[in-house]
Symmetry: C2
Subunit: 146 residues, 2 copies
Amino acid sequence: MFNKETEYALRGLVYISLQNIQDKRPGTAEVAKEIDAPHFYTAKILQRLVRAGFLESIKGKGGGFYFDPDKPEIPLVRLISSIEGDRSFSGCGFGLKHCSESNPCPVHEKYAPIREAINKMVSEETVQSLALKVYNKKHTPEKIKK
Amino acid sequence: MFNKETEYALRGLVYISLQNIQDKRPGTAEVAKEIDAPHFYTAKILQRLVRAGFLESIKGKGGGFYFDPDKPEIPLVRLISSIEGDRSFSGCGFGLKHCSESNPCPVHEKYAPIREAINKMVSEETVQSLALKVYNKKHTPEKIKK
DNA sequence: TTATTAAAAGACCAAATGGTCTTTTTGTAT
DNA sequence: ATACAAAAAGACCATTTGGTCTTTTAATAA
């Protein structure tokens, strides 16, 4: 669905957020290993995310990556768009020529609600909300699980 | 949403089908121009589609591309999968690690119905059904349009 | 049967994406 | 102050994707 960079960024940030909840700041090697991505490539991607302002980092001993709790949460759509543009969310899903709301292509009507659902989801969910879901799931005793 | 090759293939085949309805067999130059794609690249893609058995062609004067009416219609999913695999349709939309039905990642539940809707659409719609929609739309007098 | 037309084949090139590695900088702990 | 640890920077490489162009093959019309 998304390209590799986006996928690694998404998984990496969720993992970092999850660690932050437990007062830890993972480094590049740990993140890469945990999200099953190439180490150096992961490092490069995390650097880009820091430069882009999504994430903070500390160098040197005990360093690593973390989210500034004073910054707002990061909706998935912001993250994804910043990496691969909005081609996944806007425009006609099937790219037929001259497709628009006023002159829709044959699949437009059928695809519109799907695209809307996707947009809703990536706007509502954030890196942090996903991390929290993972955290809660991990820390819910088996007997309580629905 | 899809890559260029898939997009051009999709648009090209729909255009060819639409011309076939009107007993015409367009050539590479015409198809490329009409779907707004690079000429030689379009030619290469159409060749591949012929080799893959989706489409027939005739060389020489009066030649061009056409669909064998004896073959079954082509569901979009078949076309798309043959070009870029099923990565668009299967697997977790967000590629989080270890995501499966039994151990779903945090976005899995939300994404499942979306993926299902996409699958339904690309299974039901065919190149020919899209062409027919375009054809009917074109040949419906304004006053009758809903 | 020849000229012409159009697809097939395939060599080639360009850009984007994915990935590796070394060096430099900066922070921390001792 | 110094050693060490870890991110930052950036050069470099590989693969995939997107695209161009020339030559060959095959069909048709004259």
